[in-house]
């Protein structure tokens, strides 16, 4: 068995301490990290949007209480919160997604709340109130579509954080358990052998970095594509 083999024609990036092909492991690790971070981000955005829009629209005491709770959640360091959730619920893909969602919810809620505060004073919202529209209609039909510029930016920023968070969890051993090909886990396990086979660590690290940068570029492109042709102004 080829342990720590350098890059060869068969093993493009060489093998690790068990003789597993690093290149294949990086490739197969990609699916899980992308799925986990995307799903986690989606969950965080969903929860945060609902909380932020409702709280901002309600205003007053409700808003005050909800936002203080969000502040409380946010004051936990993300990793500590993740540690708490994952040690109580056990480690699985679903729980990691849940963790990311919970970590992101207050941050998204905050951004969406402030967008809501400025949109809800606009005349079209007041017209809707005068028509006698119920709150859920105003929140989701009148206000939500106008937050999409904020939402896209927020989603893309969150997605790259999610990648980092998911790989950190893997690195700390809180993510999926070995032998799953998880990038964070690979880096953590490979540390001991960094002198023998630097690619064990380097390959997944470069993968994480390129994914984060790639997500950011995608976000930038999306924003320009949205803004330029119509030149529409965001409220």
């Amino acid at each position: 068995m080829d342990r720590f083999s350098g890059p060869t024609g068969t093993y493009w990036l060489g093998t690790d301490e068990f003789g597993r092909d690093i290149f294949s492991r990086v490739l197969s690790g990609a699916t899980s990290i992308i799925l986990v971070s995307a799903a986690g981000t989606a969950l965080g955005i969903l929860l945060g949007t609902i909380v932020g829009l409702s709280s901002g629209y309600a205003g007053g005491k409700v808003d005050e209480i909800v936002m203080r709770v969000m502040d409380g959640l946010m004051s936990f360091p993300a990793l500590l919160l993740a540690l708490l959730v994952l040690t109580t619920l056990g480690s699985s893909h679903v729980n990691i997604i849940l963790t990311i969602g919970i970590v992101f919810m207050p941050r998204v809620a905050r951004v969406l709340r402030s967008a809501t505060l400025s949109i809800k004073t606009m005349e079209f919202v007041q017209s809707a109130r005068l028509r006698g529209e119920p709150a859920y209609y105003i929140i989701f039909r009148e206000i939500l579509p106008n937050t999409t510029p904020v939402l896209t930016v927020e989603a893309s920023v969150r997605l790259s954080y999610a990648v980092l968070l998911a790989s950190s969890l893997g690195f700390l051993g809180l993510g999926v358990q070995p032998p799953s090909p998880d990038w964070g886990l690979m880096i953590s396990e490979g540390r001991a052998h960094i002198a023998n086979a630097p690619l064990i660590v380097l390959a997944p690290s470069v993968a994480v970095a390129s994914l984060v940068i790639g997500v950011n570029l995608l976000a930038e492109g999306l924003r320009e594509a949205r803004e330029l042709p119509k030149g529409e102004r965001t409220p």
Partner: protein
């Protein structure tokens, strides 16, 4: 009433000083084109005009006509996407070819600009004195004591109170009018030869506007500079300009001395603009219907064509107008340049005979539609500065105090006052957007709950509101049709398809076709957006429409369209309107009854005819005399209010207006709340004042005779 009779015979006198050979500013064949990702914008198309020393050139036209672009081009201050053609000669030297360094020296020192919004022209983090000293330092090399003294003398010259100390203030500590004075002081710092003023009074209250216009008129005589004054308001132009250039679609289409232009407009567009301005009530008491210019300005996105750009909106268009462009500029019979083939055919009836607008006769025994008694609206509560400690330090803002009024079915109540007088608050309380603090509101005799959400469906659909900003009153993400369909289905039980049919009819009733149903608000012009907002308000067949500054953001031609739509609706459906505006011309035009608010209190109320005639409350008198009249011969009236509406956190010890009242009697006014006096001639006409009404009326009549009637009195001219 025709334009000619609206104005007195023009007294022709040349205001321009003797020519010195080279004019101060000569703009020749100026074109400005912006290349943007969304397409090409031709903001200015071959405009030419000149400005001489000591004269004020008024640039007037609807929005989108290129007025402001001309002003910025004159500073050679345009973004890199702009392509400028033609030449701008400042004392004979072309700014377009001048080296950048020289241009920089020129800007601020010899050419200065005053912007529309003083709030954003001043740096909020710097004391205003420092900002003026900065200019003095950059251009004149003054610093320290010398700069400070110079700044103080500049502040004095623009009439700021306490000039030696005002420089220590930050912009937010000054009122809007004072901020604009600081901006003007900055512009004057280096004694410029050319002063560009871009809508300098547009964001200000009418009372403040009057004082700023006084200042401009005075500056013209004091500094020997040429002034370019950009404004969309013909009343303002009439007040300050010596000569007027009318712009349309980036072209100067007529240029004339101010009196001649107002007395004898030779371009159909100019005549149209003048006939869109609401005129005072005539002797018969019938309102002449406003005429309006149909359509909208020839879009800047369209290419230059070999035709008259006004042809599509012109009532006297001929074939030739569409086939070739009118010659550069033809001198008409009076000798002033105009860009039209048939200037001699333009007269006061070009836009049709004004038809009188029938008004609903007053009926004394009809039950009011809306009855408001003792409306109080306070914002915030008594709050301690530190939790648990110390005396309460923040009192609530008393936005409406004991406001009473009634609106009869099918009639219009106009509510006037400066900003901060509580007009909009009253509207929002009645609409239910704000929960009133106390007071009773009855609609059709039934109590109206404080919050709109607590009202039964039937009541909800009886009251609708139209807002000031047409762009914000439609959801930018939803097609036009959806708001209409939604409004229709909220108030009556109809299916989707049927509601769409009704929505199309509604759009047609406001002069738009069904094709607009699927458009987004941003594809519409401001006037079209406001008409859609009106259609949405009409959708529920409401009995009362609250219009909060609904025409204030619109151009005068579009304003006339919207006012006519409102009048039409009222005539056909008997809808009552509560019309809030700061524009007294509009109030005069639209109102059956008038309510004047000051500092949250009612200071005068009654039928329009009675309110617009003496006796006035001193506040109404000041408002009326500040309103700019589109007549260059109107003598500037003498009553000016300084300062701003007082803080509403403190209850007033005496009369709310005592602090600024030119007729203040002293201790009595300051410390005793005045009685609501009833006009014996018309008991519905009531005035909040200590001065007996006979005395007020006599004083005010005498004052009016003194300045030979300014058109304030109904049928006065």
């Amino acid at each position: 009433m025709s334009i000619a009779s609206f104005l007195s015979p023009a007294t022709q006198e040349s205001v321009a000083p003797p020519a010195e050979g080279v004019p101060l500013l000569e703009v020749r064949d100026l074109s400005v084109t912006f290349y943007t990702p969304r397409g090409t914008v031709r903001a200015v198309r071959h405009a030419s005009f000149t400005v001489r020393r000591g004269e004020v050139l008024g640039l007037v036209g609807e929005s989108g006509c290129g007025k402001s672009t001309v002003a910025f081009a004159t500073l050679a201050y345009l973004p890199g996407t702009a392509e400028v053609g033609g030449s701008i000669l400042f004392e004979g030297r072309d700014l377009m070819t001048m080296p950048a360094g020289e241009l920089r020296d020129l800007r601020g020192s010899r050419i200065a600009m005053v912007y529309q919004d003083p709030g954003s022209a001043l740096n909020p983090t710097m004391r205003v004195g420092e900002q003026v000293e900065e200019v003095l330092h950059t251009h004149l090399g003054l610093s320290g004591q010398a700069a400070e003294e110079r700044a103080a003398s500049l502040f004095e010259s623009v009439g700021l109170p306490n000039p030696a100390r005002v420089g220590r203030r930050f912009p937010h500590e000054l009122s809007g009018g004072q901020q604009q004075r600081v901006v003007i002081a900055m512009a004057l710092a280096c004694e410029p030869d050319l002063l560009l003023m871009d809508e300098p009074t547009t964001g200000l209250d009418v009372t403040t506007e009057a004082t700023i216009l006084d200042l401009v008129a005075e500056l013209k005589n004091r500094v020997n500079a040429g002034i370019v004054f950009v404004s969309h308001n013909l009343g303002v132009i009439a007040r300050v300009a010596d000569r007027v250039a009318v712009m349309y679609a980036g072209q100067v289409i007529e240029e004339a001395p101010v009196r001649e232009l107002f007395a004898n407009p030779s371009h159909p567009y100019t005549a149209g603009l003048l006939s869109c301005v609401p005129a005072p009530v005539n002797e018969t008491g019938l309102m002449p219907q406003l005429r309006n210019i149909p359509g909208s300005v020839y879009p800047a996105s369209e290419p230059n064509v070999d035709a008259c750009l006004f042809a599509d909106r012109c009532p006297m268009v001929q074939d030739i107008c569409r086939e070739s462009a009118p010659p550069e500029i033809v001198a008409n019979a009076e000798g002033h340049p105009v860009r039209c083939f048939f200037p001699e055919r333009v007269d006061s009836d070009t836009w049709g005979e004004p038809a009188p607008r029938p008004r609903k006769p007053r009926s004394t025994n009809e039950a009011p539609l809306l009855q408001v008694d003792g409306l109080h609206q306070y914002y915030g509560n008594d709050r301690k500065k530190y939790i648990f400690f110390g005396p309460p330090s923040r009192r609530p803002v008393r936005a409406n105090v004991d406001v009473d009024f009634a609106i009869q079915p099918g009639r219009t109540l106009g509510i006037v006052g400066e900003s901060g007088s509580g007009k909009s608050t009253a509207a929002r309380s009645i609409a239910g957007l704000e929960r009133r603090t106390s007071g009773e509101v009855l609609l059709d005799g039934e109590p109206l709950a404080a919050g709109v959400g607590d009202r039964p469906r039937g009541q909800q659909s009886k009251v609708r509101m139209v807002f000031q900003n047409p762009a914000a009153s439609l959801n930018p993400r939803l097609p036009i049709g959806s708001v209409l369909v939604r409004s229709i289905r909220k108030s009556r039980s109809v299916g989707k398809a049927e509601a769409r049919g009704i929505a199309v009819e509604l759009l047609e009733s406001v002069g738009l076709d069904g094709g607009y149903m699927d458009r987004r608000p941003r594809e519409l012009s401001g006037g079209q957006q406001q008409r859609v907002a009106l259609a949405a308000a009409f959708a529920a067949d409401p009995e009362l429409i609250i219009a909060d500054e609904a025409v204030s953001a619109l151009d005068v031609s579009v304003q006339a369209q919207v006012l006519n739509l409102i009048a039409e609706r009222q005539r056909r459906e008997g809808t009552a309107f509560m019309f809030i505006t700061h524009d007294l011309g509009v109030v005069r035009y639209i109102s059956d009854d008038i309510l004047v608010l000051y500092g949250g209190h009612v200071v005068e109320t009654g039928p329009a005819e009675a309110v617009l005639r003496p006796p006035w409350s001193p506040y109404t008198e000041a408002l009326l005399s500040a309103a700019p009249v589109p007549d260059p011969d109107a003598e500037p009236s003498r009553i000016r209010l300084e300062g701003a509406v007082p803080t509403l956190r403190q209850p007033f010890a005496g009369c709310p207006f005592a602090g600024r009242c030119p007729r203040n009697l002293g201790d009595l006014c300051d410390n005793t709340p005045p009685p609501m006096r009833v006009d014996p001639a018309d008991p519905r006409h009531q005035i909040l004042c200590h001065i007996p009404l006979e005395e007020l009326a006599a004083d005010q009549r005498a004052a009016m005779r003194g300045r030979s009637a300014v058109g304030e009195a109904p049928g006065g001219r």
